[in-house]
Subunit: 493 residues, 2 copies
C-alpha cells in the first residue's frame, strides 16, 4: 500500500488515489464508466436504505421504467431534449453477426437497424410522462408519487470516479399533481428530505437554494438545490429538486378532469441524487491518511484488533472480543473482529485508517490485566484507554459523538469559507487565494452571470432560500446595477 | 374493473389481464420493454430483500459493473458471444443533433460515431471477467464472491409481461475460485439458495437439476437449474447457476499464482434470477378472481375493511381497527386499514381479492357486539368468524398456515402432473392432453433431444439431480437406445 499523495500537494491526485486504494471504485474498460467495488457499493447501499425509507415515509412508492427512450419521445419536450441531446448514447441496431472476413469477430448486422433510434435514458421525464398519460384521467388519479432507483447515461467527455461518470446510479422521483401549489410544496419537501439526509447521515452541511435560470435543469421552471463545500474550496451540487410546471404535461398531452369539471394540464416535479454523493462524502471528511466515514454510513463501524504473542494470549483476547462483538451487534452496531494471523497489527491499523472505520479497538494482554482497551477515533486520530466494563455503551456514545463532530467540523469549515465581497477585485482575489463560497449581490441578469463565468470559471451556485424572501437592497459588484438577489458564487465540481 | 377472463377459457389472456388489472406492470412505449408499476415493484423489493440477505449470509458482497460491454470484450468468449450476438442492443453513437430539415426534431449526429460499438449487457461475464483480471494475481486474492443487482437487455422478438421482456431486472452473481471443486460447490450452493427462496418464500415447488448441453448457458460447462410447473401444465425455468469452468479466465487471460507456486487459470461460476420470477409467482398460485400472494412476499398481508352506516359506528370500529393495526405492526405484519369513504365495502372486497391480499378482516357493528370479526382467506376463499380477543396472534398463525398451504397445494399439483412414459405415443398423448412434466429415459444425445423438440416443442427441462447420482437402466422411448439419464421433458415458458 503506497502512501497517499497529500491533499496539499495535489488534491485531485489525493482523491483519485484514495478511491482506488480504499477499494471503493476504479475505472472500467468502458470509456467514462466506473466499476463500483464492494466497499464503495456497501456505502451506497447504506445511503439507499436511508433515502428509500425517507421517500416512503413521505408517501412515495418505487416503480421501474424502461432504460430506453424512443427518439420521438425524447425530443417531445424541447428544452429537455436540447439539454441532453449532446451527451446521449444512442442504440441504432439490435443484432451482431459474424464478420466473414475475420473469423471469431463480430460486426453490427446492417439488416438489424432499428426503425427508430433508442436513447439510453440520461433522465426519465420523457419516458415517464409518456406513461403517466395513460394513468391520469381525473383529479382522483392524482397525486402520483413515484420514485425509481436506476442507472442513467450521460456521455461526459471528462470523467472522474463518482463525481462525473458516463453511467451513474441514482434515484429519480417523478410526481404528478393537480395544482401548481401542491407541486411546489412537493419540490420543496424533497429538497428538505435531501438536506436532512445529507446533513444528518452524511455529515455534510448544505446550503438550500434555487438555481439561476442558466443553471436550471433542462425543462424545469425552477431547480431547487443543496450545495456543499469541499475541502479544496470548490462547491459541489449534492442534490436537486425540480418544479417542472406543466412543461412535460404539455409535451405529452397529459390533461386531467378537475373537481370543477374543467380540463387542465398536470403539474410535475422531479428530484434526484446520485452516486456522485459518494464523491462529496469523501471530499468533505477525509484526510491524508485516508477515508473518514460518518458512523451512520460506515459499512464497518468498529474494528477490533487483537495484539498477542502466543495462542494463550490470543484465546484470552478472543473471548473478550467475542463477547464485545455480540453486545455491539445487539445494539445494531456493525463490528469486525480481525484476528487474521497473516498480517501484523500495524498493517491492520493502517488498513482500517485508510478505509475510514470510525472506531478502532486494540486489545493486548496488558490491557486485559488492566480491564481496559485502547480506542482510536478515526476522525480526530485521538487515542484513549477505555474500561472494558460498559465498553459497548461507551462505543455507542462515541459513535454518536463522531457523527456530530464530523458534521460540526465540516460546518465550521464551510462557515469560515463563505466570504462577502462587494467589488470584482475582491471577488477575483478571494476566488484565487481562498476559494469557497462568495456571497455577493447579483443584478439578476444572465449576462452578468455569463461574463463572470467566462472570466473566472465561477458560477452562481444558488440563491440561498433565505435570500429569496428577504428584500435585499444592494448593488451588483460586477455590473454595478441594482441587485435583485444576494447569491453564492463558487467554482464547482 | 372488468371481470377476468377465466384460466380455462384462455390462460394467456387471463395472465395478461391479471397483470394489468392488479397494477403490477404494463407494456411501455418501447418495444418489448415493460413498466413495472408500484404494486409489482413492491413484490420485487420484497424478493430482493430476502435474496440479498441470503447472498450476504453465504459470504457474497454487492458491486456494480458498467451497463456497456465494448464489442472486443463481448466477443472474447466465443460461445458466450455467439449465444447472445443475435439479441443485443448496440450503441453506435454518442450524440444527437438538430435536424436542419425538421425544426424541433433530432437526428443521430454522424460525426459522433463511436470508434468501437458498445453492447448493452445481456449478461455481464465479459465485462466482469475483464475487470477481475486486474484483481487477481495470487491464490490470496481468491475466492471473489460478488453479486450485482442490475438491468439487462436481450432483444426478444415475442415478449410477455414479466416472463419475457427485452429489458429485465435481475441479480447476477459472479465468483472466482482457485479450484474446480470449490467452483462446483459454489454453483450448487447457489442453486440451493434459489430453491430455498423459491420454495420457502414464493411457495413454488421446484425440481433441482442440470441442463442438457443444448440448453446450457452460452459459455458454461454446466448449467444447474430449478424448474417449476405452472397451472397450465407448462414448465418455467425459475433460476440458473452456472459452472463456467475456466472458459472466461481463458478468454480474458486471468491466471493466478497457486499456493504451490505454479500459474493456473481461475475457475468461475455465475448465477441469476430475474423479474421473470414474478410471472412464475402469478401463474403458480393465482385464480380466476385474481392474484394469490404468499404472505411472505405480499406488500399488504392483511387488510381491514370497516362496515358501518353512520359515524358513530365508524368511530367504534376505527378504535378497534387502530388497536389491531398497532398490534400487527409490532409483529412485523404489514396491514392496511381501508376506511376510504368513497367506495363501498363490496368494491374493496373485490379489489383486495384481485390484488391477492392474503387475509381480509371485515368488521361491522354486529361483529363488535359479538366480540368477533369476519376473516377471509384469499387462497381458499374460506370465511370464518374469529374472536377479537387474541386476534393478532390468530392472524399471525393464519398467515403462516397460508404460506404452507399454498406451497402444499402447488406441490400436490406438481406431483400429480409428473407422468412417467415409456413410449413416444404415450409421450405425445400426455403432452397433448395433460401437459406437465414427463419423466422419461433419454439416450443422452443432442440428436434425440433435437428431434423431439422439433416434432413436439417439448424440451428437456433438466436431468433431476437425484437421477444423476443413481444408475438408471432403461431405454430411450424415442431412439430405443440404452438410456443415459432419466430426465424431465415439458413444454416451457
Amino acid at each position: 500500500m503506497a502512501k497517499l499523495t497529500s491533499r496539499k500537494e495535489d488534491y485531485s491526485k489525493w482523491y483519485n488515489e484514495l478511491v482506488i486504494q480504499t477499494g471503493m471504485a476504479e475505472n472500467s474498460k468502458v470509456r467514462g464508466c466506473m466499476v463500483i467495488k464492494p466497499y464503495g457499493y456497501a456505502i451506497w447501499e447504506k445511503m439507499q436504505a436511508e433515502l428509500d425509507r425517507m421517500f416512503k415515509e413521505t408517501g412515495h412508492q418505487n416503480a421501474y421504467f424502461p432504460l430506453f427512450v424512443p427518439k420521438s419521445l425524447f425530443e417531445a419536450e424541447e428544452k429537455n431534449a436540447e439539454g441532453f441531446a449532446k451527451e446521449c448514447a444512442v442504440v441504432t441496431h439490435y443484432r451482431l453477426k459474424n464478420d466473414e472476413n475475420n473469423p471469431g469477430k463480430l460486426i453490427v448486422d446492417p439488416n438489424a437497424k432499428l426503425e427508430e433510434e433508442l436513447i439510453v435514458r440520461p433522465t426519465s421525464e420523457a419516458i415517464i410522462w409518456s406513461t403517466y398519460k395513460g394513468w391520469i384521467q381525473s383529479y382522483r388519479d392524482l397525486p402520483i408519487l413515484i420514485n425509481q432507483w436506476a442507472n442513467v447515461v450521460r456521455w461526459e467527455m471528462r470523467t472522474r470516479l463518482f463525481l462525473r461518470t458516463a453511467e451513474f446510479l441514482w434515484q429519480e422521483g417523478h410526481t404528478a399533481h393537480a395544482t401548481k401549489e401542491e407541486a411546489i410544496v412537493e419540490t420543496k419537501q424533497m429538497l428538505d428530505v435531501y438536506a436532512d439526509f445529507v446533513e444528518g447521515f452524511m455529515g455534510i452541511p448544505v446550503v438550500k437554494g434555487v438555481k439561476s435560470a442558466n443553471e436550471r435543469f433542462a425543462g424545469a421552471e425552477d431547480t431547487y438545490c443543496i450545495e456543499a463545500l469541499m475541502q479544496d474550496g470548490k462547491a459541489l451540487q449534492a442534490g436537486t429538486s425540480h418544479f417542472l410546471g406543466q412543461n412535460f404535461a404539455k409535451a405529452f398531452d397529459v390533461k386531467f378532469a378537475t373537481k370543477e369539471g374543467t380540463l387542465d394540464y398536470v403539474w410535475a416535479t422531479s428530484w434526484g441524487v446520485s452516486t456522485r454523493l459518494i464523491g462529496a462524502l469523501i471530499m468533505t471528511h477525509s484526510d491524508d491518511n485516508g477515508l473518514v466515514l460518518p458512523p451512520k454510513l460506515a459499512p464497518i463501524q468498529v474494528v477490533i484488533v487483537p495484539i498477542y504473542r502466543d495462542d494463550e494470549q490470543k484465546n484470552k483476547i478472543s473471548e473478550v472480543a467475542d463477547k464485545l462483538v455480540k453486545e455491539l451487534k445487539s445494539k445494531g452496531i456493525s463490528v469486525k473482529f480481525d484476528d487474521d494471523d497473516t498480517v501484523k497489527p500495524g498493517w491492520k491499523f493502517n488498513e482500517y485508517e485508510l478505509k475510514g472505520v470510525p472506531l478502532r479497538i486494540a486489545i493486548g494482554p496488558r490491557d486485559l490485566e488492566n480491564g481496559q482497551v485502547e480506542m482510536a477515533r478515526r476522525d480526530t486520530l485521538e487515542k484513549s484507554f477505555e474500561k472494558l466494563d460498559g465498553l459497548a455503551d461507551t462505543i455507542e456514545l462515541k459513535l454518536e459523538e463522531i457523527q456530530t463532530s464530523i458534521f460540526d467540523r465540516a460546518h465550521k469549515f464551510r462557515e469560515e469559507n463563505i466570504t462577502e465581497v462587494t467589488s470584482y477585485e475582491e471577488f477575483k482575489e478571494v476566488l484565487e487565494n481562498k476559494g469557497g463560497f462568495i456571497s455577493a449581490y447579483w443584478d439578476g441578469t444572465p449576462e452578468t452571470e455569463e461574463k463572470i463565468k467566462n472570466e473566472t470559471k465561477a458560477t452562481i451556485r444558488c440563491i440561498p432560500l433565505e435570500n429569496i424572501e428577504g428584500t435585499e437592497t444592494g448593488t451588483d459588484f460586477y455590473s454595478e446595477k441594482p441587485a435583485k438577489f444576494k447569491v453564492l458564487y463558487a467554482k464547482a465540481y
